[in-house]
Symmetry: C2
């Protein structure tokens, strides 16, 4: 998958040939064809691989409060996890966003993206729901709110990649804090520790 | 430009040849080449043409209050103006978003998109600024707020086009109302008519 990624970064989606991928890790085309049913199948597998790295990369301590968990999840999507190998967050995201914009032409990619979108939005939904249950957050429309956060993250990344707005992710982060997180916070919520003191 | 648009919609950006464009309006390739310096030049002109239709399409009465003007501008970007010819808002936006995602590879497109982004964000900035001056809106960071609205519009359109989420624009509209417009409104603002009554 990393070899496919290298080949894709080098040649771009439209010019990518199976041969280019083979050259990246000296595997014969026959062997690649044995595992994958052509270029599109391989790219779908790559997309799933890239997405998996993001979905599985959030580590949280038990007992992390909803505000902190929401913070970590948003930052992870905007600024990315650490990667040990050649390609960083933005190189991966460039491939991701290029495939996203082509998903209208490819039913399988569209399905993969839709599953991913549901997972990301779902994880944000869960933490908002937990926050409402614990009284930390106000009682909002959970799906719409999680979708709004997901949309803001997506647009900021796309703007950085396509238009070169280097500060887009930081700007989106400020906007999410000012308009979404602050609106989520329940003004009547009393910290458990503060409750202990007041009794 | 409409012929170029038809050819582009039919063949897609990567497979488009000058000949396809010529076939759409029976103009010789020589004549097209006389006006445009190749496919990329023609596509840049098309992009400017599509964008111009959106920028020039908002009509406002004098004396429209800031809340109503913001509404009209957001709806225009999300749901589009009416078109008299063959292609509607979503067909135009599909071309727009496909070119947007390729703008990282094309310096001229990137410039056109950046100018357009500044115009759209600028028109939203202006109405927010006017709202603050008139006391209707709270004193927020105007640039960040306008960018947040622009990002939400962009992401909702991209999601509808790439992932087939038909309700994305309506959902974004609800989110903007709930989190942005309601946060903008100054709770201390008194309508001029109400002031008249109370005095």
């Amino acid at each position: 998958m990393e070899a496919t990624f290298r080949a894709l970064s080098k040649h771009g989606y439209n010019d990518l040939r199976m041969r280019d991928i083979g050259e990246e890790f000296e595997m014969s085309r026959t062997l690649i064809h044995y595992h994958y049913d052509g270029r599109h199948d391989l790219i779908s597998a790559l997309l799933e691989y890239v997405i998996e790295q993001y979905e599985g990369s959030v580590e949280l301590d038990e007992g992390t409060d909803p505000v902190a968990e929401l913070d970590v999840r948003i930052d992870q999507c905007l600024f990315g996890p650490e990667f040990d190998n050649d390609f960083g967050h933005w190189e991966r995201m460039t491939v991701y966003h290029e495939l996203f914009s082509q998903a209208q032409h490819n039913e399988r990619h569209r399905e993969v993206f839709n599953r991913h979108y549901e997972t990301i939005r779902g994880s944000i939904e869960q933490v908002i729901e937990r926050g409402i249950e614990e009284g930390v957050f106000r009682d909002v429309n959970v799906t719409d709110t999680a979708q709004l956060v997901t949309d803001l993250i997506h647009a900021a990344r796309a703007r950085r990649i396509s238009l070169g707005h280097e500060d887009a992710p930081e700007q989106a982060r400020r906007g999410i804090d000012e308009f979404v997180v602050s609106a989520l916070l329940n003004p009547d919520y009393v910290l458990p520790s503060a409750m202990g003191r007041s009794q």
